[in-house]
Homo-oligomer: 279 residues x 6
């Protein structure tokens, strides 16, 4: 994660929630009153973001806040476990609470769902990755959560990876060959060329044109197995399209190298974390 | 919605997804190739964001994109319905696709869930509202979706509403009286004072201090009914805490004026919308 | 006050005044020369902004500047009193001087005028408030000064309060009823509905529609008294329009609850404060 | 004026006043309702800012607003004169009203005061200038107003002019010679060197060191006359310090070339302009 | 190139050069005076940036400027050729001149040097690429110029490519194996792994660990030839380090696939282009 | 240099090079591994930027980086000399390396070329200055480098100096008199008026109109000598136009007061500095 981007995002989130000032807290509390709060897990979860995210929220708000404890990224915890502990001016703890919780509940939700997927493919050599279906404005953080849980990231955005999709191919007159040739001649050699396919003829055309990564999009298990056999190690094979906790193991057993899963970021439910006040 | 904030946010989301340029599209397509695409509902949903959000994504990207059709905010549609149609340079349509979909899938998801809650309380006079449990960076848009579906918004942030919560009261030495007095003397007269209560004694203390809105937090249905009877129209009554589709009607029947529901924004699943290419 | 907004504003003000560098100071002074300066009141005034505003100017400019003394917000001082004392690199003290003085002279001017108004209504229970007639870009600071002097703030901006004005009503076909009904159904329940009235018929229409705050705009004293009698506690009553130090007490004696005063922020003369150099 | 800076400032002012949206107007008006408004002078004044400032407020808010009429910068008008006329969506006219008025009332106030000073020195060849005592964040606009009224601008900020003040000299060990020599050797040759003096000995030291502009700070009329005689055209002579409408002509008659006047920007009262609604 | 980044950069460059306004032009010219100007090549060069860069400078400054002619990216021109022609308000043409020229002189310089390198390797299948040794703040534009001249881009920045350099390896205890293994397990599968080597032993270690791209850094021609033989198509081979117009062909003939050349961006001299005024 | 501008620029440069994170370094190194690096001169040069520029790069990246040594601005060093030494987290040293080197190699290149020009005019009283032909986005830093090497700066931008060029004069109907009169009446008295001339008739017209600085643009040595004789101390004389190391002394000997040299900033080659790793 880039520190400058992280801090700028959190500063913006805090302004969104605090506006021109917290009129309740400012009215009630003297600036020098001290307090202590803990984030407590209200359900089992995989933790992410205490150290780099929640801590940054409070440090940006007030240098006088002390970070007492943070649970490590990727740790699995049970209900009741203390994930984060802070001490400092009451006003600052109360003002940062909502933004910090909104962030870590979402990130831990993603990490927890990612871990559930990983558990499904335990013992298999397949790699699970995220997609670009992230919450606008939160891509860096959400991809960080996926990685912290043990999966890996797909390309970050349109500038750092090549994925020739059905629409690209359509607009080229349905020739994978032309699209790949054009891409190969213009993009950096540091980037692999990936092509999305929907049937075996396209897989064959990819092989004929030395595509580096072949995406099998929404294929049946049978077709995927045929594709893996056809490719036979000559390209990386990535399965994609509506992958769920129920289908992921079967897909993995088809022999693909990678499975990309959109719901890791667009459908992970927030987990329940509360901030409890220590008198 | 504020136009300046909306445009600045969408510009930032586009930069997040496009980076320094779309290397795939730039390599494959001539700048002057034209195309046409439609957003299609893949499941029944309540629509929001075609006109102000999706259209802004493409207009900011390229003035040459033409918005051909947008379904109105709040409309309920079935699977297969065309929600949005655009025409213009292929390169721009492809570059805006992911950001536009990521946004409207989320917003329509919120609107659809909100409508489901509203259906549960049909015929009752209760008002349903959102909370501050929104996605960081997306509060304006998410609250817009809640409202478009027919519910109303709670306060926007810490600067435009007073909500004295348990932690505020705790830090005052457990006196609602003191907290309310301090708030009343310092905040604008245009703002109502709301206090969170967990038991009837606190409700009574609120009434003794002319609190404008009394929040009943995580109370049983019985206690809520008692509270409503006790308050007897002397304050607005808001129920809150873990409200679900299953519990919302019973809560409404207890006689409260409002019910605030965090999951409208923190747990609404994205709905499925795809962009189809028109040759 | 929100710390992020405050710091961003002061940073912008410093860039406005320093440009790409202070060519005079850079040419004359070695970077390590130390000095000490004091802000001195050149006339009696109510002080505001030493601690949060002037101190922030110098701390942002140079961490090595030490804030030696700051007079508390709201204190009334006489000519000659030292309001603020700083020590540190000469270059930084000289570069921050003008921005700090431009800010605090204006804020103390507002606080001093506000205190003069408050003195006029001494012994009466009326509340004095500011308006949205603030200097563009300085609203947060100017409203802070009004509050520090002992008055209260009106709504902050168009998003956190409802004030239905003559022009709004006109465009609705002169029906207060319709405008109020529309507003009530769409704005958060945390916000009171205020309506501007110019005659008693409108006051009655407000009462008929349960308006929370009735503004009496530019009414004569007699009409205001009639309105107060008519309203009889059923709504908050706010007087507004060309209020001066000479008229404010009479208006307050009419029985209104609040008086909003535009000149607090748009016409308060700057007070005279100088920065003296301590050899 | 720089267009980019102007637009960025006005955008910021609009966000300050509109927040996340105008909840009153959004609730009451349909987006397509059209209206027409005029700015009317409520007192005699010198006009500035209709064309570049007020028009920009509304154009940035909404491209559909049409600017029907703008009075030219520098024109003197009487009570009742229409200064500005716009037509377009009611919602946009109402949302821009306050920011536009807050700006032009202030700028016209500065222009009107500047014109009053110019009238006092009519027939004399003296030049009147502003200072750096401007409202933080509004320097470009306020200096524009001074110039539009017929006076000229002093240096813009610390980076584009050299003014060696008493504090600078003090910190150099009270040698004007050293300070001037250091400045001359390091600043661009395109910039004149100005020195602030408080007594005739300092004026002589300036002359001995070929200072380009000698500021006579807070001197008596007699001392100023002596200084002018002593300088005898060898440098530009600028009078400064507490200049008022009453004293400015006498100061001008002392023979100085320029008079700089802080109150043009820090103490000009806002003039009264209202926006009237055209049904 | 990303339009949002391009426009934001050019806006910043214009503010840098115009400051708070062009005091010379504003003083001399009426706003409505029209003119016409042409950019003329003062030496032979490869052109880049007329359409996307120079045109954007003037369009951002003033919508009323008309772009009459732009020479296409990549075209080779002779002395005297007209590269760009604009017409519109004199004030805007003069204000944009310096920024536009400063940009295109630099970009055409890079394109011209790139073309000179390409000419040296004519007939060979080697690919020439740039590096990260670009001017801070101008990377997107400079890499665009390299590509427009016919070479290709290396990775854009630290987030979109993996290059394990000598310092990385050193800090891992001199084991390429460990560094590659760590990278492979954590970075997206869409990215190739590149390793910098200085001797043949390291080349062999790369081959043993299936490195995708092997950089031969500052090797002699003989060693490079040995490395190419050793690698034998099992990885892409990139030569790097102090490559000049004199050495590039010999290096290419060693059989490497790519040559990366820092001086394309850090040492290309600006070419001479002037803006001539058409009366 | 302005600290706020400097820090904002360097932050932007770091984001340009780091993107959303350094995927190589993050994969390979533990966050707590410490290291030490030195910048070493690979050729003789005049140093600039170690203290204010390179140090700021690393301090902004990571507060834990310690600046061990910085060579002073303006010092001349030989090959092999250590210019800068830092210690701290390996990850931060590696992430800042490229941006810091890209900046200081360019700035030292400018300083070295500036010093070479100064050496050519040794013993003469002429002043050498830069121009506005700087790299877009780097003007403050590049002008700083010119000054650190011992030359002086010309005006910074269009807002802080008046230079009436051939195109300005042309558009006025070829009357220097009119252009000068207009400028004099509108620009601050703190600014000198400079006019560009191409022949002696224009020089005479400048003298007739009391121009402060006369630029002799691209004149022959003979014409320049005539011009100097004609001007005879009545204005500052600045030579300009294609000045090189070979021609600068002859031009200086013509008697001009100043010589402005565009290539100092637009054509100075980067010098060679490497970052060596200390195990």
């Amino acid at each position: 994660m880039d520190k400058f981007i992280l801090e700028e995002q959190i500063r913006r989130f805090l302004i969104e929630d605090i506006g021109h000032g917290d009129i309740t807290t400012d009215a009630i509390f003297p600036a020098d009153q001290e307090g202590r709060g803990v984030f407590v897990a209200r359900e089992p979860m995989v933790v992410v973001g205490m150290d780099q995210v929640a801590a940054t929220v409070f440090k940006l708000l007030d240098e006088k806040v002390r970070i007492v404890k943070t649970v490590q990224d990727g740790k699995r915890v049970d209900t009741g476990e203390v994930l984060f502990e802070i001490a400092g001016p009451v006003v600052s703890l109360l003002q940062g609470e909502r933004v910090a919780l909104n962030l870590v509940q979402r990130l831990c939700g993603i990490a927890t769902l990612t871990a559930a997927f990983l558990k499904q493919v335990k013992g298999l050599s397949v790699i699970l990755t995220d997609t670009r279906k992230t919450t606008p404005g939160l891509r860096m953080l959400e991809k960080y959560a996926v990685k912290a849980a043990g999966a890996t990231n797909h390309r970050y955005n349109l500038s750092d990876g090549v994925l020739i999709k059905d629409n690209h191919i359509a607009a080229c007159g349905w020739s994978i060959k032309d699209a790949v040739r054009l891409a190969r001649s213009k993009v950096p050699h540091t980037v692999r060329i990936e092509v999305e396919t929907e049937k075996l003829e396209q897989v064959q055309e990819c092989l004929d044109n030395n595509v580096d990564i072949i995406m099998l999009d929404n294929m049946t298990l049978d077709t995927m197995r045929e594709a893996v056999t056809l490719i036979n190690g000559r390209a990386l094979v990535e399965a994609s399209g509506g992958v769920t906790l129920k289908t992921v193991r079967k897909i993995a057993q088809s022999g693909v190298d990678l499975i990309s899963i959109g719901c890791l970021t667009h459908s992970a439910p927030s987990v329940d974390i509360s901030m409890d006040w220590q008198q």
